[in-house]
Structure formats: C-alpha cells, structure tokens
C-alpha cells in the first residue's frame, strides 16, 4: 500500500507541475505542442528513475556537505548518456526531442526528488517515486501542450482541423502562463472537492 502511494502520489496529490510547482522552465518553454510536452516528459521520466536509483544506492557513501554537487554530477552524466545514445541509435527520435534533452539537467524536479526522496529512502521506493513523479510530469506537460496546441495552432497531436493560424498567443510564452494558471486553478478545485 505504501509502495503504491509512492508511485501514485506524483499524478495528482503531489503532481510536480500543478501542485509542487517544480520544473517551471521546461514546463513553460517546451509545451507549445502536445507531442513536445509528451517527449520532454518521457525523457525526464527516464532520467528521474535512473538518477533516483543511483542516488538511493550511494546515499550513505556521500557526506552531507557535498551531496548537492554529487547529485548534480550523477544527473548530468545520465542526461549526457541519454543524449549521446539517442543521437547515435535513434536519430529520428533525437531529431524531434534532442532539443529538450540538455534541458533536463536544469529541471529542478530531478534534483528535488534526489534530494527530497531518494537520499532518504531505499532503492525500490525511490525508483517508484521517480517513475510516478516522471509520469505525473509527462501527463501535466502533455495536457498543457494539448491545450496550447488546440487553441494556438488548431490541431491535436499534430492533426490539423483548423485552416491557417489560430489564436497565436497560446503558442507564445504568455500563453503558457495563462493556460498553466487556469489548469492549476482547476486542479486545486478538484483537490478541494475530492
């Protein structure tokens, strides 16, 4: 039961984007389309799971005062490995996602989970936590991207159903703030009533 909670808390109750408000930079920056949001979310999930596992494994070997630089090195290494491997073995995927991969390093969710959860819990719980948080992040980015794409480009997951340009401001940075604000208000309402 407790392990299940570790996994599911990332979806709504502690959703990194809508509730913890972590990782705003990639959230606002890359969600101009649903596919971009989903891609960024999944890439982040992968790094989150790997870094949570490694941090949970080595947590006792790292003196407290140098834990943050150690975690950052571990995370940055994973991100670079993911970037190089994608570029080498799945160039088509890298083509569409490559842009976001380096951005994962600066995503404070990854460091936040390493510091806030993995450094205090065992490997299995940490992996579940990383997976749940990552999927929650991916879900939030996909929703945000879908809404912005829908209003800003008149399409859904790249399928166009409106000719020409739609309400452009939704694709531009202010649109990200507007949509995110309304989504957070909506989720808060849901959490209050549930």
């Amino acid at each position: 039961m407790n392990q299940l909670a570790n996994f599911t808390k990332g979806f709504i109750r502690e959703n990194p984007v809508f509730v913890l408000l972590l990782g705003m930079c990639p959230t606002l920056g890359v969600t101009s389309t649903a596919v971009n949001g989903l891609g960024m979310g999944l890439a982040t999930t992968f790094v989150l799971v790997c870094s949570n596992i490694v941090v949970a494994l080595v947590k006792n070997q790292i003196p407290d005062k140098v834990r943050i630089p150690s975690f950052i090195v571990i995370i940055a290494s994973f991100v670079t490995i993911v970037e190089l491997s994608m570029q080498a073995f799945v160039p088509a995927l890298f083509e569409s996602l490559g842009l976001f991969i380096p951005l994962i390093v600066v995503n404070c969710i990854v460091l936040g989970r390493a510091e806030g959860f993995a450094s205090k819990n065992n490997v299995f719980s940490s992996a579940l936590d990383g997976l749940g948080m990552g999927l929650g992040f991916a879900m939030a980015l996909t929703i945000l991207g879908s809404v912005r794409e829908l209003f800003g480009n008149g399409s859904f997951f790249g399928m166009k159903f409106l000719e020409g340009d739609a309400i452009l401001i939704f694709i531009l940075p202010p649109g990200a703030f507007i949509v995110l604000g309304y989504l957070i208000a909506f989720i808060n309402k849901l959490r209050k009533t549930a």
Partner: protein, 191 residues
C-alpha cells in the same frame, strides 16, 4: 552503515571518485557513440541531397569558398547518364534564434532556379521557428529564381512569407539560401 562524516578528506575523496566515474562513463559512451553519430549525420546530409535534386547516378562533391572568403560551402553536383541534373548546396546561417547554426540544403537546377530546400540542422524554438521544416514555409522557394524572387522576408522588402511569430528564424533560412545562391553564381552557375 551510517552517513559518512563531512570531513575534508571524505568530501574530497567522494567528489573525486564521483567525478572520475562520471568522466569514465561519459568517455566510454562517447567513444561507442562517436561513429554511429557521424554516420547518422552523414546519412541525413545524403537524404537531404536526394530530397532537393532529381534522381542521379553519380555525384561530384567539391568545396567553394564564400564570396567574402570566410568559409566554404559543399557543392554536390548530381549527374545522370553524364548529364548534370542539379546541384545541391549545403549552406548555413549564424543568424538563427538559437546559437546553433541553421544548415539548409538547397537544390539548384542548371537554369539557376531553386528546385527544393531541406533543413539539415536547426535548433530553433519548437512550435515556432522549427516550422521552417514545414512544407508550408519551405515549399514557397520551390521553382523560384532568386534573381526575381527576393530572398528576404516581406517585412524586409523581400518575397518570402515569414513563419508567423518566427521572423528571425525565417530570416536565417533566407540568409542561408541567399548564401547558397550567391556562391552558386560566383562558381559560374550553370556551367
């Protein structure tokens, strides 16, 4: 086992070991992926050549210096049965929105018309400048002769419809195509 104490020695050793392991892992991955990455890039450039000029059986590759002599562009002349069918020029612009070069493959017919264009590399804003890859933008160059079709966005007095909300990326694209054309003419054009 409890936490290690934050003594100077422990901190030094920990950071040293972690950074060394990371460096070893990254070095290893880099070596393994170096070749596939180079191959993938080459395959992409070749696909771009095939996309912008008609079918060919042999190809002649050479470099031509830019007009200002600062750099050179790669010319790929495609021949079919000994006849020149088109020249694919890999051009670039440093004026994109992202510091990464925008690299465009431009195909020219022997009359000096633009056949087609293809994006080889770009890191423009996703959803805005990245739309330079959409047919809606890049196909407007097809079949145009840059002598009459001014390679500038309409805002700057040219003939190109810019991508909405991505004028800078559109300018970079035009800049790259313009460079290709200038160098093509300098090299003797249809010779």
């Amino acid at each position: 086992m409890g936490k290690k104490e934050s003594s100077f020695k422990n901190m030094l050793i920990t950071l040293f070991v972690i950074t060394m392991l990371a460096a070893l892992a990254l070095g290893g991955v880099y070596n393994v992926t170096k070749e596939p990455i180079a191959l993938a890039k080459k395959a992409k450039a070749e696909a771009a050549i095939k996309a912008v000029i008609p079918e060919f059986d042999t190809i002649k590759v050479f470099k031509v210096a830019l007009e200002d002599g600062t750099d050179s562009l790669i010319f790929n002349q495609g021949y079919k049965n000994g006849e020149l069918v088109g020249t694919a020029i890999e051009s670039f612009s440093n004026n994109g929105y992202d510091p990464t070069q925008v690299r465009i493959m431009v195909g020219f017919s022997s009359d000096g018309d633009i056949l087609k264009t293809a994006v080889v590399q770009q890191k423009e804003t996703p959803g805005l400048g990245s739309k330079m890859n959409d047919p809606k933008f890049k196909d407007q160059f097809n079949g145009k002769n840059p002598n009459t079709f001014v390679l500038k966005v309409k805002k700057d007095g040219g003939s190109v419809d810019a991508i909405t909300a991505a004028t800078i990326s559109s300018r970079a694209f035009c800049d790259a195509v313009q460079k290709a054309h200038t160098t093509y003419l300098k090299d003797g054009g249809s010779k």
